[in-house]
């Protein structure tokens, strides 16, 4: 049986993204002599910071080029930047409301998609994860396996059927007859943000259940047993025990889902279609470069604006992140 690591070594989980805390000392110089230790430290730090530097360079280039005008960007690489080059005119253009390239509205649209698309799947998947983990019912394993294996479905296959659902509802034809029965009425959702986050909710399910189930099934069995003996029903156990204990994994999934919904391009494009008022940031950025890429110089500043909010969300929630992911994967 899997032992949940979370509750036993919270300190370690906290440190996974680095808290400058004391490391497990086994990875410190083992050679004993001072020279050896120094050499060892050098051989650890040089490759590390080299990799980190390489990782940082592309984003740094984006950031610097976003402050250079069209001609400067075309003339020389961003590392040749001189202070007199710097301008905020690109940001002016992409943020000004009058321009068709305006990002301002689309930031709000993206929030309007990403926040419901984060909260609702968390709720639905938490119910299901608890159901799969702690309620015994016939066909549980079978259903769970089916759910997880749907992770493999490329989401492109579902775009057109879902769009049709939003446009015309769902109807079933009774076999051998011409009669159709409306299961889901036509809610006329195409072009709305609702259509986008509903779609995200559906696509998020397998991964959400997978992640949450890993965590929730790892919670100590004793808690549940004693609660059941005390006469608590599933609903009480779920709301009073499981939800509070699952905060880390809920937050971890929230980060994933928020980033995914915020950064999605294809679903939004398909579901919003020709309602330009509701375009999220990704579509704006993709359209910004223009016919044949003639306005490519605006892309760095737009891409930076596009990435700004997910970065804030990520850095503010990251402390939960590791804890939540750990339980599924680390078995003590």
């Amino acid at each position: 049986m899997a032992t949940p690591v979370i509750n036993e070594v919270p300190g370690d989980a906290d440190a996974a993204l680095g808290n400058d805390g004391p490391p497990n000392d086994m990875r410190k110089g083992g050679t004993g002599s001072t020279t050896g230790a120094r050499l060892h430290g050098l051989l650890t730090r040089v490759p590390l910071w080299f990799i980190v530097l390489i990782w940082a360079i592309p984003s740094l280039g984006l950031f610097i080029n976003s402050f250079r005008d069209r001609q400067a960007q075309n003339q020389s690489g961003w590392w040749r930047v001189v202070p007199s080059d710097l301008t905020i005119s690109n940001y002016d253009t992409v943020l000004s409301a009058s321009s068709t390239a305006s990002m301002t509205d689309s930031v709000l649209n993206s929030l309007g998609i990403a926040i419901p698309a984060t909260i609702i799947p968390i709720a639905v998947a938490a119910f299901a994860a608890y159901g799969f983990a702690w309620i015994d019912f016939k066909g549980r394993n079978w259903l769970f396996i089916a759910t997880i294996s749907l992770l493999a479905i490329p989401l492109q296959v579902a775009l057109l059927p879902l769009l049709k659902l939003y446009v015309g509802g769902a109807h079933v034809t009774v076999p051998f007859t011409e009669r159709t029965l409306t299961l889901i009425p036509d809610w006329d959702l195409q072009g709305s943000l609702t259509a986008v986050w509903l779609t995200h909710t559906g696509f998020a399910m397998p991964f959400a259940i997978f992640l949450l189930h890993n965590y929730i099934s790892g919670l100590p069995r004793d808690i549940f047993e004693s609660a059941r003996i005390d006469g608590a029903d599933h609903f009480t156990i779920f709301t009073k025990l499981v939800l509070p204990l699952s905060v880390p994994v809920l937050a971890a999934f929230a980060i994933f889902q928020f980033l995914w919904a915020w950064n999605d391009y294809l679903i939004a494009l398909t579901m919003i279609g020709s309602n330009a008022d509701n375009f999220p940031t990704t579509i704006r950025v993709a359209n910004l470069s223009g016919d044949f890429g003639r306005n490519a110089f605006l892309l760095p500043s737009a891409a930076f604006i596009q990435a700004f909010i997910p970065l804030i969300v990520f850095f503010s929630l990251q402390r939960f992140f590791v804890k939540g992911l750990l339980a599924g994967s680390v078995k003590g």
Binding site: D25, V52, I57, P58, A128, F137, T147, T177, D233, L325
Partner: protein, 657 residues
């Protein structure tokens, strides 16, 4: 105003959703504690749902008809009053059935309710005199009538089929035969009476008969039920509860994933515009298309340099393993240096194969292999290297950051890295600028060559020193340093024979040729993969880092006391401890990489031999409107991920067991 309306809209949908869920839960809590209340609620709910469905499908004379000019609140009230009354009636019936246990009274209540409900429905069924106009702007539909004209044969057939299914069900589930047959027979009767007969031409009396029969039967079923004892009530609770928890997710999954997948499977057996079935033709097309799978140049594999280098590395690894094995008495000891060298040898051989065989499917394999291997091992390396280093948090955050950037954004970012310019121009892409600078300093400038020479000789000496220092107590590290030391030695050789980096000259002047990052195959594939590696390494790093930190310190202490060195600890304690985590990371990355789409779509659109399955599928289905082949590619993609999923699930099952 807009703000307010939307706040209300979101609040209502979230509120209704949670209220429903909590309400149903609370309702089933009552099953064991307060049966009459539970019974009342169930009755109300059933009444409500029945009339909402009838109403929603416009089967009943529609109170909306006269109300269409009203505001949405008015229309809502017009819609809701009938279901609301039905709920009240149902609740009352439920309340009685929850308290009265005299069998004959119960039967009377049950049959009475069934008859009344049947008559109400039968008399309210639309007979074609009503005009359907809904809401604003929607067109008037032709008048419809739902009064059936029976086809006795069909009616009898469906009823018998329903009854037979019920009998079978009762036998299998060992439930009450008569009640089950009555339920299923009623369903059969309803289908036979309404779906399988001519609607709109019948008399009202037909509708009454059509409704009355199932009304009586279901009334009988309800009436013959007993108030369950506490065990029975608990069983009802236990039967329903899982579906309350799992149901919403199953609904979303069915609508968003399962139904479309079934549809796609059907489409994959049909022609381009889905008008006729073509059997397996699309699969034949997809698999035989050289664009998907091109083996034309397979003989070139054996002459490729990477292939030979891979074989040599593999041989070295094997020899090393056998040498180490002699010490320990095994035939071959697969251990860090030998294992790592052997694996890189195999990796290179694989690279040689995927760079020579071409096509979309080969590309997908290459993506899965390269991105998974590199992202996971780099993530592991960073996790180990950064552990406990000062500014660990900064380093890890920088590596993790790309995960927050959209693929659209990432393609913008990497365009700034990959751009190339004509050799005569100043390079604007960071990578080619560095490449050209290296080429210039190693081939065209004597000062540059001297500096490079000093640096490389220094690196060789450094690795040699490190290898000697560690030889005494850590042979593995020594071997690693020696192998790494070969790289500066090779570069020194290149420096002496004309330099490295971007080379080339025209009219005696240096003219370093940049790399055509995205258009020069087959390596352009690899440059696309780097983008995904850039994004995914942070994910692998965070999870692996957490796993490493969770390795119990006592193990390590104990090993140290036994005289284990760093690499022993890493390979013999850390790695085995975190293997489950590595597997989770690997499977997650594989599933993600198999479906890679955005990067390829945005950066090359699959041109220059960089196509992948998801992009090919998207282009076939939506750009070229060849839905058959597009669906086939989607199914192939799905099938190819299945083995990974099966492995992962089996592992999970074992853990649960």
């Amino acid at each position: 105003m807009k703000v307010l309306v939307t706040i209300v809209g979101v609040a209502i949908s979230v509120g209704v959703f949670s209220a429903l869920w909590v309400g149903v839960n609370l309702m089933f809590n009552k099953a064991t504690k307060d049966w009459p209340l539970f019974s009342t609620l169930v009755g109300a709910l059933l009444g409500f749902i029945l009339f909402v469905v009838l109403h929603g499908n416009e089967l009943l004379i529609n109170p909306l008809d006269e109300q269409m000019d009203q505001s949405w609140i008015g229309r809502f009230i017009a819609f809701i009053w009938l279901p609301a009354i039905a709920a009240a009636v149902g609740g009352t019936v439920g309340w009685f059935l929850g308290r009265i246990d005299d069998p004959s009274t119960r039967l009377a209540i049950g049959i009475g309710t069934g008859v009344v409900a049947a008559l109400v429905i039968a008399f309210m069924l639309r007979d074609g005199s009503g005009v359907i106009t809904i809401g604003d702007g929607r067109e008037t539909e032709p008048e419809r009538s739902y009064l059936p004209a029976f086809r006795p044969f069909a009616l009898a057939n469906w009823t018998i089929i329903g009854g037979a299914v019920g009998a079978g069900w009762a036998t299998l589930r060992k439930s009450n035969l008569i009640r089950t047959v009555a339920i299923f027979g009623s369903i059969g009767w309803l289908i036979g009476a309404f779906a399988a007969s001519q609607l709109g031409t019948g008399p009202r009396i037909a509708a009454i008969i059509a409704c009355l029969v199932p009304g009586l039967a279901l009334g009988y079923v309800v009436g013959t039920s007993k108030i369950p004892n506490i065990v029975g009530a608990a069983r009802i609770d236990e039967g329903a509860r899982p579906w309350i928890f799992v149901g919403p997710a199953v609904f979303f999954i069915f609508v968003a994933l399962i139904a479309p997948t079934i549809l796609t499977l059907v489409l994959s057996f049909q022609n381009a515009d889905s008008t006729e079935f073509v059997g397996l033709e699309n699969y034949g097309t997809a698999l035989s298309d050289p664009a998907n799978f091109d083996t034309a140049n397979w003989t070139n594999i054996f002459t490729s340099r990477i292939f030979i280098l891979g074989l040599i590395l593999f041989a070295i690894g094997l020899l090393l393993a056998m040498a180490l094995g002699r010490q320990t008495g095994h035939t071959a000891q697969v251990d860090p240096p030998s294992g790592a060298i052997g694996i890189s040898g195999i990796a290179l051989v694989f690279f040689a194969i995927v760079t020579t065989l071409r096509g979309t499917i080969v590309n997908n394999l290459w993506w899965v292999f390269a991105v998974t291997l590199i992202a996971t091992s780099l993530g592991l390396a960073i996790a180990v290297l950064a552990d406990g280093v000062r500014f660990e948090r900064v380093a890890k955050s920088i590596v993790f950051m790309p995960l927050a950037i959209s693929f659209v954004g990432a393609s913008v970012v990497w365009r700034l890295v990959y751009q190339s310019r004509d050799p005569s121009q100043s390079q604007t892409g960071a990578m080619n600028a560095a490449w050209v600078a290296i080429g210039r300093t190693t081939s065209d400038s004597s000062i540059g060559q001297i500096i490079w020479g000093i640096l490389l000789v220094g690196a060789v000496l450094g690795f040699a020193y490190a290898a000697i220092r560690t030889l005494s107590n850590d042979v593995n590290m020594a071997v690693l340093y020696s192998v790494l030391g070969l790289i500066p030695i090779y570069l020194l050789y290149r420096l002496a024979t004309g330099g490295f980096g971007a080379l080339g000259e025209r009219n005696g002047e240096f003219r370093g040729e940049p790399i055509q990052t995205l258009s020069e195959g087959p390596w352009n594939n690899f440059f696309l993969m780097i983008v995904l590696i850039w994004v995914q390494t942070g994910f692998a790093m965070v999870i692996l880092s957490a796993a490493i930190k969770a390795v119990p310190g006592e193990f390590i202490e104990a090993a140290k006391i036994d005289g284990a060195n760093d690499s022993d600890i890493f390979w013999r304690i850390t790695i085995p401890q975190i293997t489950p985590t590595i597997i989770v990371v690997v499977t997650t990355v594989i599933v993600l990489v198999m479906k890679v789409f955005d990067i390829v779509r945005v950066m090359t659109n699959g041109n220059f031999g960089t196509n992948v399955l998801a992009n090919a599928m998207y282009a076939e289905s939506f750009q070229f409107r060849n839905v058959g082949v597009g669906s086939t590619l989607a199914i192939l993609l799905f099938l190819s991920v299945i083995p990974v999923m099966v492995y992962n699930i089996r592992k999970q099952q074992k853990e649960i067991a």
